[in-house]
């Protein structure tokens, strides 16, 4: 009877620890998504500063002549959580629903409680720049977030 009671206690303890661990793993991306709303000093979890991307892209695509140079879009990545994480981002220029240019994929691997940058280099060849003249250009891309061994999510934007 005593052995059964001990086995019960051990099983319950292991189960609670496992659920706690699952909660910790899941809380990383959730906090990374929610806490930036509270202000920069409260940021926790794993995520990207996507808001900083928009003005940089707008600047790069402010005029067709600006396109022909090389632009680097820098997106901050933070991993203020207990597990290693990885983020990668590539951007693409879409005209009439087809991709005319795609950047190399920028990747950032972060150890626990480390921050970094994703540096996406936009270097549009002159032949592509001429295609973009006067056309309605949509900026899309692919974002990949991963906590190795636990979860991975890939988001394509805009959805086509």
């Amino acid at each position: 009877m005593e052995g059964l009671r001990t086995a019960k206690r051990l099983t319950r303890a292991a189960d609670l620890l496992l659920w706690l661990f699952i909660g910790l793993v899941m809380a990383g991306p959730l906090l990374g998504f929610l806490t930036p709303e509270l202000g920069p000093q409260y940021v926790a979890g794993f995520g990207l500063d996507l808001q900083s991307m928009q003005p940089q892209i707008q600047q790069a695509f402010s005029s067709t002549s600006a396109l022909s140079g090389t632009h680097t879009v820098v997106v901050g990545v933070y991993n203020r959580w207990f597990f290693p994480a990885s983020a990668s981002l590539s951007l693409e220029l879409i005209v009439k629903n087809s991709t005319v240019y795609q950047t190399e994929t920028a990747t950032s691997d972060l150890a626990p409680f480390q921050t970094g940058d994703l540096r996406v280099v936009i270097a549009v060849p002159p032949s592509v720049a001429s295609q973009l003249q006067g056309a309605q250009v949509t900026v899309g891309g692919q974002l990949h977030l991963e906590s190795p061994g636990f979860w991975a999510v890939t988001v394509n934007f805009p959805q086509r």
Partner: protein, 132 residues
């Protein structure tokens, strides 16, 4: 029974709004499936309430309840098309899912150990019949 009636009724009532986001199967199929789930839930609920911990039907009720919940969630999540999670193209949670399965197995192991403990207790102190 609430489960078997309320959910299909709500699915029918909010069908136009839900269809904006999720592709639903025909209304008759939802009713059939949820009535079956409702009946199964009623059976396992009865087994858990009519018997006490330590008796085999109680354990069957508990294990059956888990199986019904698992089947229900699997069915509900089959509704979810890719469009529901915005632009997300793929989500993989293999490691996390394995951890969740391990935790569920441990929960059931605890349930079985608890059952064995109560069963031994019942062997030495059988329940008294209520004369009233």
């Amino acid at each position: 029974m609430v489960l078997g009636v309320a959910i299909p009724y709500l699915a029918d009532y909010f069908r136009p709004q839900v269809l904006t986001y999720v592709a639903l199967p025909p209304s008759s199929q939802i009713w059939e499936v949820f009535v079956v789930f409702g009946v199964l839930s009623a059976i396992v609920g009865f087994l858990q309430n009519a018997y006490i911990n330590g008796q085999i039907p109680w354990l069957l009720g508990k294990l059956g309840g888990g199986a019904v919940s698992l089947a229900l969630f699997s069915y509900v999540f089959l509704f979810l098309p890719n469009t529901l999670v915005a632009a997300s193209q793929s989500f993989q949670a293999t490691g996390l899912l394995l951890l969740a399965y391990a935790a569920i197995i441990l929960s059931y192991l605890y349930l079985i150990l608890d059952f064995m403990q109560h069963r031994r207790r019942l062997k030495f102190n059988p329940p008294q019949d209520n004369p009233f």
